[in-house]
């Protein structure tokens, strides 16, 4: 029995429910006349997600603060002022407007330190993401494109890295390299490496079998050209999402290491390190503990919100 109505493409075996969904989708897109530009379409989906837009706005704000910290911060992050130590925030009795968020045990202005902390956190996030992105993408491309023993060696190595809890591995690496901001960056970059490698490899494997890749190979494209110019652009969307989410992981892990005394060292105004110093005041001076943590939470949350929004807007399968 053949379908008398079938055109070039046979859609009759479509599930009823997907038919339902398709109809709903068509109804939704009914208002659009011509297919919009991809970027415009991306922005349409992304801006429809209020959380993602809020995340983006907050990230821009934090980035501005980080960039302009030396000019907009009221004090130096290292300036101690013992007579004014442990001053509460301005709106609490005993606080003054000259120290909006109060001062810490050494009389340093908390707002100033948080502003400079944003520099450290965003910088660490940026460096970690850059290192792991470059390394991870290269390894993933090699593994996915060359296959064979290269693939096996790279991927087994990634499996081993993944089998150890990430913070534990980062701690181990820092324990060996010695505590410090720079070593913490290397440790975190290694820990997040497998995500980029796996993602790129998977994308490469799918793309490499497609006709357009075969076509460029037939046309005489070199392996390097194939990898970098043909396949890579098609893995970009998931990598952007992963990199955004990678920022939040890096910032969180860096703060965790700082808190454990393995990351940035005092007196650097890193948020986790600040919390580590503030621990003893948890029952007596709440503001010394509260604000640095709030800075970590909101920044990480902003990156996660934006990452989720990007994934929904960039991943065609998620579009509904």
């Amino acid at each position: 029995m053949t379908d008398p109505m079938s055109q070039a493409t046979d859609t009759t075996s479509e599930l009823v429910l997907s038919e339902e969904a398709r109809i709903a989708l068509e109804a939704e897109s009914a208002h659009l006349a011509a297919p919009p530009h991809p970027l415009a379409e991306f922005w349409k989906y992304f801006s429809g997600n209020k959380g993602a837009v809020a995340g983006l706005a907050f990230i821009i704000l934090i980035a501005l603060v980080a960039l302009l910290a030396p000019w907009i911060a009221p004090y130096s992050p290292f300036a101690q002022n013992v007579p004014e130590a442990k001053m509460p925030p301005a709106w609490v009795t005993g606080g003054t407007w000259s120290h909006l968020l109060g001062t810490d045990a050494l009389g340093r202005d908390i707002l100033t330190r948080i502003m400079f902390g944003a520099r450290l956190s965003l910088m660490m996030g940026l460096v970690v993401v850059t290192i792991s992105l470059i390394l991870g993408v290269s390894l993933g491309l090699l593994a996915g494109f060359l296959r064979g023993w290269v693939d096996v060696v790279i991927m087994r190595l990634m499996d081993v890295i993944l089998s150890v809890p990430s913070l534990l591995l980062a701690i181990a690496i820092v324990a060996i390299l010695g505590p410090g901001l720079e070593n913490a960056i290397y440790a975190i970059a290694v820990v997040v490496l497998p995500h980029y490698t796996r993602l790129t490899r998977a994308a490469t494997l799918t793309e490499a079998t497609k006709d357009y890749v075969t076509a460029s190979r037939v046309a005489g494209a070199s392996r390097f050209r194939l990898m970098v110019h043909v396949i890579l652009p098609n893995c970009v969307a998931p990598l952007i999402v992963q990199a955004t989410l990678g920022f939040s992981t890096a910032i969180l892990d860096a703060a965790s290491l700082g808190f454990l005394g393995l990351g940035a060292q005092p007196p650097q105004p890193e948020w986790g390190t600040m919390l580590s110093e503030a621990r003893e005041f948890v029952l007596s001076h709440w503001w010394i503990v509260t604000f640095p943590g709030l800075a970590i939470l909101t920044t990480v949350l902003a990156f996660n919100l934006m990452g989720d929004g990007l994934r929904d807007a960039l991943d065609p399968r998620m579009k509904r």
Binding site: T2, P4, M5, V16, E19, I23, A24, L32
Partner: protein, 327 residues
């Protein structure tokens, strides 16, 4: 009184000022023990309309009708609980994709006895015995040993037999079969169709047979409803419609049957596609594809008009017995 009465059934998707009508003012009736075929291309709304009859259209779909009654009972005024008492017992349904329609986490036995447990009660042993009996009735060999199998261990044909066993478990008076053979191998299709028709005749069960395949309708149905783009375009008895289609679309459908193209160089097709949400014509929905299209067809929507012998047609210029448009 008819077993199933449907009048002006409409299903809309997407709210706001411009909802999309997947099903538009569909009307038909189904007598006790009768087989009614609903025919159309994919996207014609035939599946959605049957889901609406079952009460299975979920959010964001919106179902309205001026009358929707089963055995005289108005389905629209029933509470959800009362409605569920009918679904699965008096009205049962089987679906197009048997492989995905069975729950992969439960055994065949569990899934068959579940309907029995809900609607008929009885002891565990009674339900089990009944399930074995049902599996035997749908032609599954060694039914007793099949109760413990999981769906992924069954072939497509076997899965559809299990689906049929589940559907007839509570002796329904109406069986809705939504493309029951489309997803199956050609050799299995005839077996399943035979099984369905045998069960239908033995039990005097009414059947709503949704299909895109006119050959199946010719063989199985008493009457037929032809749907296009969410609307009924023609309905009537199978012999009348097959001999003298009055709607150009029905005629084209019949002409496209491979059986009718013996000796021809190539199979007949209908050029163009079913209109989607954003390219619905202002006038007759078939106008862009109709070989007999007139000016009036492009500007005005034709109504569904009653003809002789309970037949209906939605066309300004229905075809006469010679296949020529009337003026």
């Amino acid at each position: 009184m008819a077993l199933l009465e449907i009048e002006n059934l409409t299903v809309e998707f997407g709210g706001g000022s411009n909802p999309f009508r997947a099903v538009e003012e569909v009307s038909y009736t189904l007598e006790k023990g009768e087989v009614l075929g609903i025919v159309g291309e994919s996207g014609s709304g035939k599946s959605v309309s049957s889901l609406a009859v079952m009460g299975l259209v979920s959010f964001p779909g919106k179902v309205t009708a001026s009358r929707m009654a089963f055995d005289g009972v108005d389905l629209q005024t029933l509470s959800p609980r009362q409605r569920r008492k009918l679904t699965g017992s008096d009205v049962a349904m089987i679906f197009q994709e048997p492989m995905t329609s069975l729950n992969p986490c439960f055994t065949v036995g569990y899934q068959i006895t579940e309907a029995l447990k809900i609607h008929q009660g009885g002891t565990r042993a009674e339900r089990k015995a009944r399930a074995v009996d049902l599996l035997g009735q749908v032609g599954i060999p060694d039914p007793a040993s099949r109760l413990g199998t999981f769906p992924h261990q069954l072939s497509g044909g076997m899965s559809q037999r299990v689906m049929i066993a589940m559907a007839i478990a509570c002796d329904p008076r109406l069986l809705v079969a939504d493309e029951p053979t489309t997803a199956l191998d050609v050799t299995i299709q005839a077996q399943i169709m035979d099984l369905l028709l045998t069960l239908q005749r033995e039990r005097g069960m009414a059947m709503l047979l949704i299909t895109h395949d006119l050959a199946v309708v010719a063989e199985a149905a008493h009457r037929v409803v032809v749907m296009y783009a969410g609307q009924v375009v023609e309905s009537g008895s199978v012999p009348a419609i097959f001999d003298h289609p009055r709607h150009p679309y029905t005629k084209a459908l019949l002409a496209a049957l491979p059986e009718r193209a013996i000796g021809a160089e190539r199979l007949n097709t209908i050029p163009g596609v079913v209109p989607g949400a954003h390219d619905r014509p202002k006038g007759c929905l078939l106008a862009p594809r109709c070989p007999h299209v007139q000016d009036r067809c492009r500007t005005e929507r034709p109504p569904l008009e009653d003809g002789p012998d309970q037949s209906r047609v939605r066309c300004f210029y229905p075809l006469d017995p010679d296949g020529v448009p009337t003026a």
